[in-house]
Symmetry: D2
Subunit: 410 residues, 4 copies
Amino acid sequence: MSHSLKPASFSAETPPSLLRSFRAVRDHTEFLAAALMPEDQTIQSMPDASPAKWHRAHTTWFFEQFVLLPRDGGRYRPYDEAFSFLFNSYYEALGARYPRATRGLVTRPGVEEVGRYRAHVDRGMAALIEGDADADGSLDTLVTLGLHHEQQHQELLVTDMLHAFAQNPLAWRGDGLPVIPGWRLPAPEPGEARFLQRPGGLAMIGHDGQGFGFDNEFPRHQALLQPHALSDRLVRNADWLRFMADGGYRTASLWMSDGWATATREEWDAPLHWRPDGAGGWLTVTPGGLGAVDPEQPVRHVSWYEADAFARWAGARLPTEHELEAAASELPDFHGHVWQWTNSAYLPYPGFRAVPGAIGEYNGKFMINQMVLRGSSSATPPGHARRSYRNFFQPEKRWQCTGLRLARDI
Amino acid sequence: MSHSLKPASFSAETPPSLLRSFRAVRDHTEFLAAALMPEDQTIQSMPDASPAKWHRAHTTWFFEQFVLLPRDGGRYRPYDEAFSFLFNSYYEALGARYPRATRGLVTRPGVEEVGRYRAHVDRGMAALIEGDADADGSLDTLVTLGLHHEQQHQELLVTDMLHAFAQNPLAWRGDGLPVIPGWRLPAPEPGEARFLQRPGGLAMIGHDGQGFGFDNEFPRHQALLQPHALSDRLVRNADWLRFMADGGYRTASLWMSDGWATATREEWDAPLHWRPDGAGGWLTVTPGGLGAVDPEQPVRHVSWYEADAFARWAGARLPTEHELEAAASELPDFHGHVWQWTNSAYLPYPGFRAVPGAIGEYNGKFMINQMVLRGSSSATPPGHARRSYRNFFQPEKRWQCTGLRLARDI
Amino acid sequence: MSHSLKPASFSAETPPSLLRSFRAVRDHTEFLAAALMPEDQTIQSMPDASPAKWHRAHTTWFFEQFVLLPRDGGRYRPYDEAFSFLFNSYYEALGARYPRATRGLVTRPGVEEVGRYRAHVDRGMAALIEGDADADGSLDTLVTLGLHHEQQHQELLVTDMLHAFAQNPLAWRGDGLPVIPGWRLPAPEPGEARFLQRPGGLAMIGHDGQGFGFDNEFPRHQALLQPHALSDRLVRNADWLRFMADGGYRTASLWMSDGWATATREEWDAPLHWRPDGAGGWLTVTPGGLGAVDPEQPVRHVSWYEADAFARWAGARLPTEHELEAAASELPDFHGHVWQWTNSAYLPYPGFRAVPGAIGEYNGKFMINQMVLRGSSSATPPGHARRSYRNFFQPEKRWQCTGLRLARDI
Amino acid sequence: MSHSLKPASFSAETPPSLLRSFRAVRDHTEFLAAALMPEDQTIQSMPDASPAKWHRAHTTWFFEQFVLLPRDGGRYRPYDEAFSFLFNSYYEALGARYPRATRGLVTRPGVEEVGRYRAHVDRGMAALIEGDADADGSLDTLVTLGLHHEQQHQELLVTDMLHAFAQNPLAWRGDGLPVIPGWRLPAPEPGEARFLQRPGGLAMIGHDGQGFGFDNEFPRHQALLQPHALSDRLVRNADWLRFMADGGYRTASLWMSDGWATATREEWDAPLHWRPDGAGGWLTVTPGGLGAVDPEQPVRHVSWYEADAFARWAGARLPTEHELEAAASELPDFHGHVWQWTNSAYLPYPGFRAVPGAIGEYNGKFMINQMVLRGSSSATPPGHARRSYRNFFQPEKRWQCTGLRLARDI
């Protein structure tokens, strides 16, 4: 892979020590924020996004709240009592919290103090990990969850910052405003798309129990697949430009009713972060800055509504999450390019049980009005995703690195 | 059944002639509106609802647009050219239309003229049906679709009018403002709830091809059921009052995140159309007027969010639509009381294809952000619903006759 | 005057008996609503407007609340106790009231019952007036206020209904939807506009104490006028068409900042209720139905923002309310055509005191964020306005019969 | 005066050289921002406010656009062409501009680069001032306007930052988050309030032509004052606490209708930036940080709606702007404490003419929907205000240092 998101993967070694993993992930967050000025790290460019320094603080808060205070309460001193209010994201069980929509109004603690907060918690965590025999493995489980949580926020930090910069006219001239200088998109998988014939039948779906998994990947269970065909390549910008040229954004019959209403109201005529270059082509911004839209690259920053309309235009459909999971090993661009929208609603697996307590609010309470995405993107930290991973967003969201591949009934 | 929605069922005779069916359904619409004053029929009490006279006109427009003009264009004269604009609901392929949100601003045509419009189209339809040999059965297919369409609007007419009246303080005193004087809820199924054990396995799901079905019930296909238990009774008001007394509406951990936000913002503390009676009990409005909440009746006017929270509180879950369809014949209160929320998103069946043309906008373009309901309600016209019927609404909607039954993993 | 609003003037005779005046005004309200169907009378086409049957009921409520109950409480029985809640407009001192924004949701009492309510109160009032010696004249004062109140609502009934009809596509074909069949605009004052030179100096402003006046016209006081010139003709549609042709709606420098924002957001390009006729001209609706925009008629349905921008474009300014009052007798088209926007904010006169009690909420509490209009319109009931009359609306409002005349500094 | 806003007054010396004045004002802006971190300077806490670094950049842009480019275009090179788009506030005549509501999304240029921009323009201005003989005084006029413009933004920078900090929970503990460390409120004028009797009559109003004045202070003209009494002291927090204790915020009859709606919707129960201290008293934030509400201090951060309601409660009224201007020299606390709401709408003086061109957009286009304030506040830069100065805000605004004094009719 050609991009620069990989220096700090904690899963590259087998088995890494917990502390080494902890430091690797924590360092990677700081690496991602390294080129951001304090001004950049402060703002929230829309309600869905969060400030970069909030991501840095909230991931730290997670370790403080869920690991240090419950397991090391006697020794560990919170950095600042007010932070439990400021940096709780959505855990109702942990009491009142600062409103999400106004995270961009909190200028203090500033960027440097957030750094000190991180260092303080890191010291506490190191002491805890080194001093705790962890006979039952529960510390490992909890810390590993915290690290995967932080990796999710690493991806959000990048996409949120990209969105913020895209609002600034200065992002659309010269080299733009790179979130991560030098960052480049991975080379697209070469070769033409081909539909794999898939016979259907019963398949085992869900996490196989080896290594970490979020609760929403469990329990592993049988599912019935219908016969279908699945493209072995992601939809590319060249394909998308044809859709656009064919009036895809102006043809109501291709769209879901809600999607058409959204596209009309928001005046969508291209993926998010695309702008005409004034000479008949298109510019786009990436974490590495401004550039021309590359026809060979998988399309990114499209909503489920757009992906679904595109599939209908192409005489195809979106795959189900089961179809993608079952075929993942046969899809060379499944990981590392774009999250792939499916036609599966984000619902609990049969027998799903949320973990008791506040930490059980992690996934289960979002299982409505969202569609599943599979694979992973170029902004996903290496080692984070896996075949059974279930990402999810509302069908109108476009600011994540989201694309699609096609399927067909046979 | 004890209520008055049945006098005009067109499916009670086998086989009814098409014209007899047509007249029966059309008459039933007028029966439902009979006690409404012109003032009542004019207003739109919220964006989801439509005026009663709009329902009467739109169902008429459907026959004019989809049957009379295409098949009898030479002979049939439209009643008023402007009505094709005024009474199109959401068919993009049929051109511009009057905005949905302001249907309540169209006072003309008035109630009487809508009656004349209906009579005009009815005459055209009678002439067409009697004069068309219908060698390929396509007229029968189209008219039957139009009649089922009108039946759906019959239910909406009742629930929309109920909502409108509920906004008027006069609905909450004396006998209230009955939509249909004399209307009564059907007696609840007697006996205590019992969980049926269901072993799971492969089941055939979807319409079996006998009689009418909407496109969203096709194609019939195999589905895999997990082992589960299913309550043979609907959740009742007595159950719901226990949920309320136990703080169900104030306990975030029972709710989906979006549901909690909605319940908090809208200040929900009981089902829609419930009000304290000032003496510790509750009043509610039904199509028949004002009355006390009856503990034995199935709870109605709850959203998916509430149904889901209730199920969690009860240590259960909502059934899937497949589970309900497979067990329907074992559930004595499956039909005629309340639509039952499922934990299934409204998605296309494998191999689903929308009908080509404008009429294909009927169902397919709504297959996102909605949850499936099964069964039928006391406001559903007799003969309209069936085991494979898929109703659907967004998870926050409460103005339909919606309730639930419980399921459990085993 | 050529229009049909005058048959029921109560001020035409000197002195009319109080009861005769009462009946004349009350009858005139019913005359205005005579051609409206129940459907028409029910809706509220925007938050500023009220349903026609609400106007009929609210004016009745005024007599019930402020006259019958306080002065005849022992004998008079309220028609329906709930009406005191339903038909209070904005009197905080009289307790809770039905929300203004949803007046269009109250279908019952219907049009006929509102008629019975009116008759009931009329009987009570007749009995009271005939049986009360009214030694101190306080009954006369109160009833006369109620009649002037009802006359204000007569004008609102017409302009509200005109707005409601204008939302219906059927209003824009044939003869449109007349509020009052046969109604015609008065003939414009003939002759070309001429600027009267006015030397300025001290002038007496405010009601002179002869006959009825609202509290906001008092106390009479001295004001200082600057030397100025004042047009003796209203601005006409021909003038307005020149403003439009010269880009008046697209030239930011002519507009107040708030006005420009409003005009841009609302996409104003002509007065309210104007539509292109498809052949280069303009159509408009009046209480009498649809017609071509007449270049000789005074422009109507323009906001203060538009009037102010027009005046700037014309190298002039809006007059002050003092300038208009002082010159009123020299302006032949001062009354009966359009209310004339001034550049005076609606503020209390020096020494103004609101009447104690609920009735004091009539005028004083609106003395902010509104601009004064002077004169009267073709929709103003005859005998209602006078030289010292102060009408007032927010600067963005356009649904009243509002126009302007020009002034200049000299 | 005890506070720290005065070190850089440019009007303290007579006559100051233009360049010395320029440097003094420009330095004062940087002094005000000196304690703010880059994070603080970036955010916009509400649509009315602007980021601190935007104020620093916009005031610089003013000199670039209105002075350097028109007068020194051949020599002066703009710092960055994009800044003319980014830092235009509201001058329509100068073309497109970045939307006001999202100023807080522009993280680049950062705080340091804004400093470089300021230095670049300052160098250009110094060269221009030193090299231009300014035979007609027009350069002096223009630069002086730019300096008064910058002084207005100095006050806004302080009040905007205070508002921003007040949204942060950390501002409400310890010493809070001072905008300007060490800043203190000036000592209140000692002694009890006394009403001065003022006989009324003709008075000269407006700027007398000596020294700088904004266009809205001209032309000087005669106005007629009614006899009245005017308090020689500002209303104090002790008075306001009595108003609160007497239910002032819960008594509709004291309020304008719009004010009551605003107070109810926004849940006002005290001035802006007041919070209960948990022990029966109140805390508030000032530019110097957190402190107790001092009963002797003039009340600040009240809207016109609140001021008007208070005056009615006190059996008094707000003074007119003419009354205040005429009596200013007799009011020892007229300047330097709080801007004083008047009952005068912000309207043009008789004969007012806006300056031609873009710079004429400065004042005239805001003369609607605003009320005049007189005097000056503790956040007003020394030397900025004067007796004829007309400040103006909408009646619901509270984030400026706004208070009141009482008047009475006699």
